[in-house]
């Protein structure tokens, strides 16, 4: 149970305060309601590139990181397809520095050409490091466009191509800022060793004078239900074959979410899960196998993934994955197994309260979804899920004509062996 207070400034900035006197620290987390889904299809990767530019100096403060480090603070940020989230942790006695820094960059950036040029390069290196120079690193670049034909989830947060990042102009940066980075599109959570009335005063002082800006009204092309089996096979320089099967599922705020998340736990959470037990241990078909959901706000993905052992054909591997989801479609999950995944969810919720930053991020995200207090009702919703509901969801999701299968075939060469010998010397 996380207690909090909530207020809204005249300019529309929503503020949540979570008082936790057990720590000498404070966090300030700002969620901006903008992600890669809000990008123009010809300028993908922009929300994430923009996140980098938020550290390139603001209108009154040339350097963002230095003054924060000087008061013992640390910060970072992440961009997803749905949101962009910035956070600071620092000794609570120095919290005002965080207000000073965050309010100035919400007011306006410095829009420096040098910063844009450097961050373009940094993000291009990030693109290479995470997506191109790793075995299987490009999976999301390939899988997303298979699952999404209309919705902007068809591209990854890093962008469709390096070209889009190279082409980013300072005018685009300014327009993006104006459209998305204003108080109406933000949720701020302050937590830790803080008092609500003091936070109210600091919020009024630093964020109150920022103009409300224009409200961004999101109107994205929605993904139509899938009615065809999709499939792609790539031969790549990867050491092992790999199979991905992605299914469309409802978005994060849909009532079905809880049953579907528990279903993914039944398949793949922990060593007692079905995929691990059946496909790795008993049938010995895979070296690794996973099931997970993306938890996207709009229509999401339920993904099955596995690396079959060398003697196992791709067809056998796919059949084995399908057999497991067919079981979910045909048989109700036994009571014990359902209790098991519910217990796991319950303890995960308790453990997540160990971290001040996690609490702050959760409050911001639940507020975005409608009400921060829903975080406190989350356990109850998982506990209420029935075996029947899981079966219904399994039948709705695990259809051949709702599947997108991506197969990586390992390019067979003699190189790996000689390379390994070389490494020995």
């Amino acid at each position: 149970m996380i207690k909090f207070n909530r207020f809204t400034l005249d300019n529309g900035l929503r503020v949540i305060v979570h008082e936790d006197s057990t720590t000498p620290m404070a966090v300030l987390n700002i969620l901006y309601d903008v992600g890669a889904r809000d990008e123009n299809p010809d300028q993908t990767g922009f929300a994430h590139l923009f996140e980098h530019l938020m550290f390139g100096g603001s209108v009154n403060i040339p350097n963002y990181d230095g003054p924060l480090q000087r008061v013992g603070g640390e910060n970072n940020a992440f961009t997803s397809n749905d949101i962009t989230n910035y956070y600071i942790t620092l000794p609570s006695a120095n919290l005002e520095t965080a207000f000073w820094l965050e309010s100035d960059r919400m007011l306006s950036l410095a829009f420096s050409e040098k910063s844009l040029e450097v961050q373009r390069n940094v993000v291009i290196e990030e693109f290479k490091q995470r997506y191109l120079n790793q075995p299987y690193g490009d999976v999301w670049l390939k899988l997303r466009p298979m699952v999404y034909k209309n919705h902007p989830y068809q591209w990854a947060t890093i962008g469709k191509t390096i070209k889009h990042i190279e082409d980013a102009k300072i005018e685009d940066v300014k327009a993006f800022f104006k459209k998305h980075y204003n108080p109406q599109n933000a949720i701020m959570v302050v937590g830790g060793d803080v008092k609500t009335d003091e936070i109210k005063a600091m919020a009024e002082k630093w964020f109150g004078p920022i103009p409300a800006g224009e409200k961004y009204v999101r109107n994205l092309p929605q993904e139509q239900p899938q009615h065809e089996e999709r499939r792609e096979t790539v031969t790549a320089k990867v050491p092992l074959n790999d199979v991905y099967i992605a299914f469309q599922m409802e978005g994060r705020t849909d009532e079905s979410y809880y049953a579907v998340e528990l279903m993914s736990d039944i398949l793949s959470r922990g060593n007692s899960s079905r995929l691990h037990r059946s496909l790795i241990k008993d049938k010995q078909l895979f070296s690794e196998v996973h099931a997970y959901i993306t938890g996207s706000l709009d229509k999401g993905m339920f993904v099955l993934e596995g690396k079959p052992l060398e003697h196992v054909s791709i067809e056998q591997a796919e059949d084995a994955l399908w057999a497991e989801v067919e079981r979910l479609k045909n048989e109700e999950v036994p009571a014990d197994e359902l209790i098991k995944v519910k217990n796991k969810t319950e303890s995960t919720m308790v453990f997540s309260e160990m971290s001040l930053l996690d609490k702050a991020m959760n409050l911001a995200f639940y507020e975005l979804m409608g009400d921060a207090n829903n975080f406190n009702h989350e356990s109850g919703k998982f506990l209420a899920v029935t075996a029947e509901q899981i079966k219904v969801q399994a039948n709705a999701i695990f259809r051949k004509d709702n599947s997108s299968t991506l197969v990586y075939l390992a390019e067979k060469t003699d190189v790996p062996e000689s390379e390994l010998t070389e490494l020995e010397n």
């Binding site: 057990t22 003054p67 013992g72 910060n75 290196e125 290479k128 990867v238 060593n271």
Partner: protein, 427 residues
């Protein structure tokens, strides 16, 4: 109303007091030591069982890690499946972790389920049998995982670096997929008996660890753990660094090169260690560090670059690591050299040094987020043979060390020409 001054930073305060929670210590009749950190409102607890590793045998390099990883794979009473069922059913998390110096088992559980989960741990620590079928699964899957890792430049660079620094010891271990084939069930069982003994066990409890919790742990783990054997030999062979200091693994189609540059180094027990942490922070230990500022934020050569110090029981290392665009690899190495040498020739400016002092103290304070983090700080000390005086010295050093002293340390410890340099990719 006066205009809000957005140009001047608000007043700030230095970090004055950092209070660390000390454990309650108990030793059981069988020699196992228990350290308890009882704090916090949440009804959960983390319990770690930490064992010193046995002496490394280069002929059987994977034995220690295999024994540890397979602890969850079966006892004479419970199959791997039953172990997993029991732990998962109660919403608990069971982890096995292998590091160079220690092997450990960790249980995270809600306190209300402790009595159901604790006996499972007792069973795996005293009665693991390493079933042949599970061993074959382990071998197969680890071989496949290693094949994937070997395609990652940063993974290969780290291995090559460690191998060069530490040779045929646990620290330099660079297993090949075929090495897994040599694992034998009998060897695992024997190592298990030698190593997982109460006298070699440290139990660390953190969370809502009230007296009943401690009592439950004591009751479960006191007395004999099966047949007595000889005391575990946890001494280690001597380190033999490689004579070759430049290691280049070319990957023809690499988009990026992994760089790892560094040297064997003092560890936490050395009096210079806290001061060297300050020097390391300046160079590459935080986002505003010189390496990040120059090589990422000015040149845009990389997504990230940093330096660090590893502290092990027998040794330590200092290293700089990054993945950079293949076309700028040489330029990046030249910039790294420049930044290392600058520390030897120029004094760190006051403003930068005061920033680093505040950052490090804030970071230490921030790292004490909950009772588990206090237990982690204790482990740093305890396994290095240090006491809480270390953190007092650390904070005093961070607050008071001068630019002259840091320059002298840079000259004493940094010799770029003699650093090991590993490049995987293109150079």
């Amino acid at each position: 109303m006066t205009q809000l001054d957005r140009k001047t930073p608000p007043q700030f305060n230095g970090v004055e007091n950092i209070t660390l929670i000390h454990p309650e210590a108990t030793t059981l009749d069988n020699g196992a030591k228990i350290f308890t950190f009882n704090s916090g409102d949440l009804d959960l607890v983390r319990i770690e069982w930490i064992f010193h590793n046995l002496r490394f045998n280069p002929a059987k390099p994977l034995l220690n890690v295999a024994v540890n990883t397979m602890l969850t794979e079966g006892t004479s009473k419970l199959t791997a499946a039953q172990i997993a069922d029991k732990i998962d059913f109660y919403g608990a998390f069971l982890q096995v972790d292998f590091s160079y110096d220690h092997s450990q088992v960790t249980l995270y559980t809600l306190t209300k389920h402790l009595n159901s989960t604790l006996p499972v741990i007792k069973d795996i620590l005293t009665d693991s049998i390493f079933p042949e079928k599970e061993l074959q699964t382990f071998i197969r899957n680890q071989q496949q995982k290693l094949q994937v890792s070997l395609q990652k430049n940063d993974f290969v660079a780290r291995r090559e670096f460690n191998k060069a620094l530490y040779g045929e010891t646990i620290y330099g271990l660079a297993a090949q997929p075929e090495d897994f084939q040599s694992l034998k069930r009998e060897d695992l069982a024997e190592k298990f008996r030698e190593m997982y003994q109460p006298a070699n066990c440290n139990i660390i409890i953190a969370g809502k660890a009230d007296p009943q919790i401690l009592e439950a742990v004591i009751k479960t783990f006191e007395g004999a753990w099966g047949e007595a054997t000889v005391p575990a030999d946890t001494t280690q062979p001597e380190l033999k660094p490689s004579a070759e200091r430049f290691i280049y693994k070319e990957k023809a189609d690499a988009l990026q090169s992994a760089i790892r540059i560094g040297t064997p180094f003092v560890n936490r027990t050395h009096p210079d260690f806290p001061a060297l942490q300050v020097l390391n922070t300046v160079l590459g230990g935080y986002f505003g560090s010189r390496l990040m500022t120059n090589i990422r934020e000015d040149k845009g050569y990389t997504y990230g670059i940093g330096s660090g110090m590893s502290s092990f029981k027998q040794t330590g290392s200092f290293f700089i690591a990054s993945e950079v665009g293949a076309d700028v690899c040489k330029a990046a190495v030249a910039e790294i050299e420049k930044e290392v040498n600058l520390l030897k020739t120029d004094l760190i400016p006051d403003e930068e040094l005061s920033l680093v002092r505040n950052f490090m103290l804030g970071s230490l304070l921030g790292s004490l987020e909950n009772v588990l983090s206090h237990a982690d700080k204790f482990k740093n000390l305890y396994f290095a043979g240090l006491d809480y005086d270390y953190y007092y010295r650390y904070t005093q050093t961070v607050k008071n060390i001068t630019a002259e002293e840091l320059k002298a340390l840079a000259n004493k410890y940094f010799d770029f020409d003699n650093f090991y340099k590993v490049i995987v990719g293109k150079f």
